[in-house]
Symmetry: C2
Subunit: 272 residues, 2 copies
């Protein structure tokens, strides 16, 4: 297993230290169609917060609003601690390019996760072992090739339109980095956006699509993730509605050991 | 049905026009335990955006991070249009009191909802009619009394602890304003936070709790809501996990006509 800066993911999310202004750079390895893969942008923002000298606690909630495509090259991150309490921190981050035009706007909550009553109501979804499933091979964009997707249910079939009899938008799949990397908060937020658009599944075809707003909640802190010591998650994603050019998605990221690590929701634009 | 400024809800969410700086005031009618009900704060922020002269389109996604309790009295809203495109707007709002201390941080996406392929995959939950269910009568805080809750499933039972054998966190209920008011985007965002904390249901007791981050997605625009012409929603809420002092909640708000109007998620702090 590769760790630290040897991994492409860590190269792609690298940020240069600053106080309130940080720098990053898009990575061709995680490129999507008209800009970087949204998950790598979210992970880069989270990395700047985690590496910030004023940060305390673990990420609890992250919302990333994609305001405009990010152009290839460098960008600035304006990182601002808006409010700090005894056990929580509230951050706001603006990713800008070319003279201050905002391309991405994010808020994050960090928290000291104190011991408490614990109860996992959600059920670990059944799944064939990772090793028994062939990897997904259709690398439509560079970022897709950075992940090892193994579908348990809802295998992509984008060959023919199903718009008159929509198929289920539900998917269950293993997701790991193609070059295995230990799962941390950064990989969880990136994988939150690594589901194929639900409308591709529902309609059985690719249509123009872009994530507009992504929210991820973390249910494991750094100590929990370190104890899990895993390099892949079992993920489920679904949608409830597609209406007037926008649709939702909800997802869960599970440890192979049966622990719910993160939940995520998003709204995406589509043209169909 | 009361409309406009006759309604307590509209009084409670009133904002005074400004350019980038707006003013509002807490309402005793929607008070919770240590501050205003989070839903009324979220609705007040959304109202400032909807009434802003530069606003175009309908609310698509709203995230509200509760940074600190809001004290009784006036507050300022710093409202900033961060980025506008052809069909979307990205806003950031800071609610401050007492010399600029941030109590609430929010981001919002507005969009022109263009006609498209439409598909509602989620199923309308079954429910006994509103009129056949007795209203919930336990008014623990003023804001609770402003709503007419009628539980279909998961009726609150906070009399005895269930911590060793947790009960289901799932609830299905009708929610309307006590004095009926036509459902608009403001009521949807307020009702997004009107579920009792899931941990109260899971443990069968009240414990210290506070919403930390709330996200609501709108699946109906103003024209859709106007056509529905309703004064209550059928709502469902559930939780997946409670761990290290934080727990999640997800919810759906349905028109009685069977249309999914909004979905919502939140992370809340608890002490148990």
């Amino acid at each position: 297993m590769l760790t630290g800066s040897q991994h492409l993911f860590d190269d792609a999310t690298r940020v240069t230290a600053g106080d309130s202004r940080w720098q990053g750079r898009t990575s061709p390895d995680y490129w999507a169609f008209v800009g970087p893969f949204g998950g790598i942008t979210a992970a880069t923002i989270l990395r700047a917060l985690i590496e910030h000298p004023d940060r305390s606690g673990d990420p609890l909630a992250l919302t990333v609003n994609y305001c405009a495509p990010i152009a290839e090259g460098g960008f600035d991150l304006d990182v601002r601690l808006v409010k700090a309490n005894r056990s929580t921190q509230h951050w706001c981050v603006e990713l800008t390019q070319g003279g201050g035009e905002v391309a991405t706007l994010a808020t994050a909550v960090f928290a000291e996760r104190r011991p408490s009553w614990s109860h996992q109501q959600a059920q670990f979804p059944p799944a064939k072992p990772f090793e028994q499933i062939a990897p997904y091979r259709n690398i439509a964009a560079p970022w897709v090739g950075q992940y090892d997707f193994r579908f348990v249910e809802g295998h992509p079939d984008f060959a023919g339109a199903k718009k008159d009899a929509p198929a289920s938008a539900y998917s269950r799949l293993w997701i790991g980095d193609r070059a295995p990397r230990k799962i941390d908060a950064l990989s969880l937020v990136s994988m939150s956006d690594a589901f194929f658009a639900r409308i591709f599944h529902a309609r059985g075809e690719l249509v123009p699509f872009g994530t507009v707003s992504l929210t991820t909640y973390f249910h494991a802190d750094a100590a929990d993730l370190s104890a899990e010591d895993i390099s892949r998650v079992l993920a489920v994603a679904d949608a409830k509605i597609f209406h007037k050019s926008y649709g939702d998605q909800s997802g869960e990221l599970w440890s192979p050991n049966g622990r719910l690590l993160a939940t995520t929701t998003q709204m995406g634009y589509f043209k169909a």
